[in-house]
Symmetry: C2
Subunit: 479 residues, 2 copies
């Protein structure tokens, strides 16, 4: 990838004081909580976006909110950029550091502090993994709903930063819909609490604002999340169609009918072939588009919903309908879908885009996406959360060929602009990060951007928190 204006110019005043800063941090943190040797810094030089790499100045791995506060207070006083990091699974470069930054990693704060079934909440430290929450309450019949593909590794702190989603968000919403409160360290080290174990909150909804703010408003160290009871049963059904148009129209019709399945996943032919070759999920290979529609509830509820959905699919000329007949078969259907990214990685390098469009525009955007990628002489596989219009075109290219890589990046940009022009937005669940920063002008007017930056200033006057992300580098107010 082109590595040109990707970061703000490093602050010389910070770089020149590197040794002194590390010495100061040594006073603030126990030895095992500070990383500063070059070879130990390597694991922190990028995240799952991997297009850019920078060794940070140092990495702080605090164990307590008080330690986070001490580091923030110090860095804020001396104008040292701070890049918060969960598990580093960001697909938009949200956790990529810069040379003059202290990475603030939350991985040592990974305890579940309380589970409270009467209020259906869990209180957890920010470094706990998404899946750990569901595992801790699973035995009692509960789970935490948002399920990013990276849920085995990604942390709740990172999920809050990016307002992460997942396949099952169609019914249960994304992170912001499942977050009730946070403890957060402000840039000057002050600790505040937002929300709690109650709905709504007096005053402004700063909790909602913080969710999805990509670590630029403060460092979340604890979170209160909503727990949901596991349904009695769940059942995925496969629908094969002859064209993407039919599949897209079917999705819009299911949603338009008012039925809310737990998930509606869409795969086009290239995606079907890639996943089937890897997972042997039994996907039909003679169709152009596949929907995985999952319903849940009691046997009677599932049957009623499936009946209505099959009827809708019939109106759109569905070619193959396959209800899973067992838990094994259901698991296999999902295995195929969930392995999509890994399976694609076996056959080519790829970048995964993350635009969201109104449902009525699904097939239009799919067609235009093909046209764009064709024009660049590249290939694309589409596998995405169709029920909420969250598209994930995977653009295949050869990372060892700089020209190919540049084409992929350019095609990706055109696709995201297409999503915005179709009435959608740049991101569904991966965030803006570095990846989509310069496209923000396509989504927002100068007035919109100015208002967002004004809010950022109200939290971080010195612009030290994750400073190279979210907003275009040019046109920022002086920091």
């Amino acid at each position: 990838m082109a590595d040109t204006i990707s970061f703000l110019k490093p602050r010389e005043a910070v770089l020149s004081r590197r040794a002194a800063i590390i010495a100061d941090l040594t006073e603030l943190l126990p030895p095992e909580c500070l990383v500063h040797e070059a070879r130990e810094l390597v694991p922190f030089e990028t995240d799952a976006f991997v297009s850019y790499r920078r060794l940070p100045l140092a990495v702080a791995l605090p164990k307590t909110t008080a330690q986070v506060a001490a580091v923030m207070k110090y860095c804020n006083r001396y104008g040292i950029p701070v890049v918060p990091r969960g598990a580093g699974t960001s697909l938009s470069g949200g956790a990529i550091p810069q040379e003059d930054a202290v990475v603030l990693g939350l991985s040592k704060m990974s305890r579940i502090l309380e589970v409270d079934y009467a209020n259906r909440t869990a209180t957890v430290q920010a470094g706990v993994t998404n899946l750990n929450i569901s595992e801790a309450v699973g035995i009692d019949g509960f789970f935490y709903a948002p399920d990013p593909s990276s849920q085995l590794a990604c942390t709740i702190g990172g999920n809050i930063g990016m307002n992460s989603g997942g396949a099952h968000c169609l019914k249960y919403g994304v992170t912001t819909n499942n977050l009730l409160g946070v403890k957060m360290v402000l840039v000057d080290g002050t600790v505040i609490e937002l929300g709690g174990k109650h709905l709504d909150a007096a005053g402004y909804d700063l909790l909602g604002l913080v969710c999805g703010s990509e670590g630029q408003l403060g460092i979340v160290t604890e979170a209160v999340v909503r727990l949901i009871a596991k349904p009695e049963g769940a059942r995925p059904v496969l629908f094969g169609f002859d064209t993407s148009e039919h599949a897209g129209a079917c999705v819009a019709d299911i949603i338009g009918s008012g039925i809310i399945p737990v998930a509606i996943e869409f795969m086009d032919k290239p995606a079907i072939e890639i996943c089937e070759a890897f997972a042997h999920a039994g996907y039909p290979l003679d169709v152009e588009a596949l929907l995985i529609v999952e319903v849940e509830g009691s046997e009677a509820e599932m049957e009623a919903m499936l009946k209505a959905i099959v009827e809708i699919a019939g109106r759109h000329g569905v070619k193959t309908v396959r209800e899973s007949q067992s838990a094994t078969e259901a698991a296999l259907i999902w295995k195929g879908r969930k392995s999509a990214f890994g399976a694609t990685g076996r056959i080519a390098d790829y970048i995964c885009m993350d635009g969201t469009v109104p449902l009525g525009k699904l097939s239009y955007v799919l067609n235009k996406t093909s046209e764009i990628v064709d024009r660049f002489g590249l290939r694309v596989a589409n596998v995405f959360h169709a029920g909420d219009g969250n598209m994930h075109p995977l653009i295949l290219f050869n990372a060892n060929d700089p020209e190919d890589a540049a084409k992929a990046e350019e095609a990706g940009n055109e696709i995201l602009k297409l999503c915005v022009d179709a009435g959608g937005c740049l991101t569904g669940e991966h965030g803006v990060g570095i990846e989509k920063r310069d496209l923000m002008r396509h989504q927002y007017s100068e007035a919109d951007l100015h208002q967002q930056m004004a809010v950022r200033y109200a939290f971080d006057e010195g612009w030290i928190l994750n400073p190279s992300k979210v907003f275009p580098l040019d046109g920022r107010p002086a920091a």
Copy 2:
């Protein structure tokens, strides 16, 4: 009520230029969109809180976003306070004007602009009433979920300002969970759009921030709201208990089991008696506490849920169980509940508090509430949204007796502090307004409040938008 420090000192520079300001506004608005004669201003002097009254300087009733922008640009330039107003149904004084303010009423912007079933959205002007949305899409089997008691009159703009709820929010969430986008006029007249017909948004969640900001960040003129399909059926069941403790524990247990009914409403004995005398709903009079639990879905779903709920109620010594056997009976059960405020108004003056508490604390807070009210020699009736812990103690008093009124206000303040101390918050759905402004210090630390005010400044440097609300009058940064 005591009418002491309820408003900021009027800006003399504004009051002294009243005639000139009205002349200027006449240039910006058609004649039918400007109200400035004293007798015509009377309907705008208060809202449903009615404890305070002020005649505003003038009332603007624009018909277009461009007119709203023109008024805002003008008022901002000359430092004239602006108080936005929907239908004036605020229970916390959110729409009460001040002498130096232009009231910006949205009542003439009441059109439904678009209904889009493929995306399950409606785009409406801010002055449309809550119920109008559901009525417009009801024939197609859809509705708009949040249902404040005032839904016949209250506007979607007001709902957004206060993040309004209602009895059915247990399942469907409050306004913020059902709002997808807004068009908003900033204080300087700039028009921005937040969100749209897609989930999530790139950049910060300013939409979430605006929802519940009580008109202090901008004037919402249009909104995109989510539509939901009507369930196949809905059925309320009455559960009578011998003690409030048993009823409260039953609520916590239903929620703790993971079942999510559409509504769980709670009435104590005084509330039961008041409502039964008015509505003849057939409520049992030999119990101390009543729950109305409503489930919805297919016949089979409802039966399964009811079976589980009845079993839980049995474990808490339920005395009376009555499933509604017909639509008429169901309507009657809800009529009793929905008439609670009106029926109470027949027998006494009352103030309605709006604290929210964690479910495990319901009976503790109910008992303490009784103790507080007893101590002041007053009476209380409790009728509230128990499923989400949103309490509504109605404190009965005689408004013609200033001493009684002062006692009611003091008791109310103690009750709200009790809610906060129990881990809850000052408001569930009515907002802070004037009523709870001075209690914000009890909920928030100075650092919390300072951060909220800093965000407000990022939108409205001159502090002209609804300036006397939400934050304590003392301790504000100079405006």
